[in-house]
């Protein structure tokens, strides 16, 4: 299953400048592993030493934060869109 992944500016050095890449994966965890295989160095940016998604990394599946879904175990299907977004502030 191919899903498209939107890459934020700070990580584009690792994707050869690409702001979107296509990855085969059936879950978020597998997606991260396959991202790493295609673009070495990405996983350690996204995950801490225990493999958990870092506190300041937000992963969205079709506009929903995966923390509201099944986190790393969230299932993916063909044509899904995943966005990786650094946490940003506003409000008070």
């Amino acid at each position: 299953m191919a899903v498209s992944v939107r890459i934020p500016t700070p990580l584009r050095k690792l994707t050869g400048g690409a702001d979107e890449v296509s990855i085969e994966a059936s879950s978020i965890s597998e997606l991260i592993d396959n991202l790493e295989a295609a673009h070495p160095g990405l996983k350690e940016r996204l995950c801490d030493d225990n493999g958990e998604i870092r506190r300041f990394v937000n992963v969205y599946l079709n506009d929903e934060d995966v923390r509201f879904l099944d986190g790393r175990n969230t299932a993916l299907k063909d044509g899904d869109e995943v966005s990786i977004v650094p946490a940003i502030a506003g409000g008070v």
């Binding site: 700070p10 937000n58 650094p86 940003i88 506003g90 409000g91």
Partner: protein, 415 residues
Amino acid sequence: MSIVRALKCRECGHEYPIEPVHVCEFCFGPLEVVYDYDKLKGRLTRELIESRPQTMWRYKELLPIDGEPTVGAQNGFTPLVRARNLEKVLGVSELYIKNDSVCYPTLSFKDRVVSVALSKAVEFGFKTVACASTGNLAGSVAANAAAAGLESYVFIPHDLEQGKVLGAGIFGTRIIGIKGKYDDVNRLCSEVAGKYGWAFVNVNVRPFYAEGSKSLGYEMMEQLGWKAPKHVVVPMASGSLCTKVDKSIKEFIKLGLVEDNGTAVYGAQATGCSPISRSVKDGTDLIQPVHADTIAKSLAIGNPADGFYANRVIRESGGWAEDVSDQEVVDAMKLLAETEGIFAETAGGVTLGCAKKLIESGKLPRDESIVLCITGNGLKTQEAVADAIDKPRIIEASLKEFDVLAAEDKAALAA
């Protein structure tokens, strides 16, 4: 003289030169401006500060721009009000309101952060500035950009209060309403910022922007007679203000401008969006994002970027966090208005409502100094209280008709 040293990742400590970047390339942690305070020791004195104009820029050495501000040079320096009527109602002995509901020019504390962010954006050479906003920031960016001759774009949730939409649109900015919550707006803006090369005040120039909040803390201490309060209550959305008020106090102590008073910092949220206060109450530093649902829209950030740090400031300073229902927000807005003559926005109702609960539960002691930070103006969130206030009693222009009303009022007062 600038004492800015670098941008430093709050997570991994990696340092970066002063550039329009906001996240660490290595771990995505937020970047913060760090300073060489030693260079200022003995040079930034109370007398020097007092000799300067009454604006937030009297503390310019501690704000991250080079030279003089080019945007918002008049901003800040709002009143600190001794709230004697409110003291009686709440049963406390020393209560102050830091009243940013009258901050120049757009009536919220955002004028502080925007003046730093846009001055920095000008230094970086940006011509277009932008923001993701729950309303106050939109108005402030639009107004300050207009005055500085900069182009601006503001991105807001499509269902904001009319006062906030109008309060941005009047300045001729380009307003984009996003079908979604603030968190959706934020997410889009982080992608737009990456693509369009504008200065997004709360994205790529955020490390500088956030430092502007410290001026509220500096003023509070100077206005208390160069003293830090024992307790300070701040509203929380992303949690940034909470951390910057704490930073301002630590800086003044470090520079010998005030003595360490062991200030405890308290955070206030609306129950319908309380991920930070929830984490404090649960005794964890894990912030669980929520889908926001509250009338306090300026605080409705379900995924607070500085939540982890706000939680830490609250716990380490010996403070606490609280949250209040929408009804309590409205009641507190009315209480503040009726006792002190201050019409705060919903976030102000959150701050006072939470302070009231913290006093009642004994978390805030009744016999020590307390400062409440009021960050925005009620005229922008009129919808929230429209149904809770008395409508005018309509009469003819007749003294007789008025006499009837006056007699009713007198009887009611006697009863």
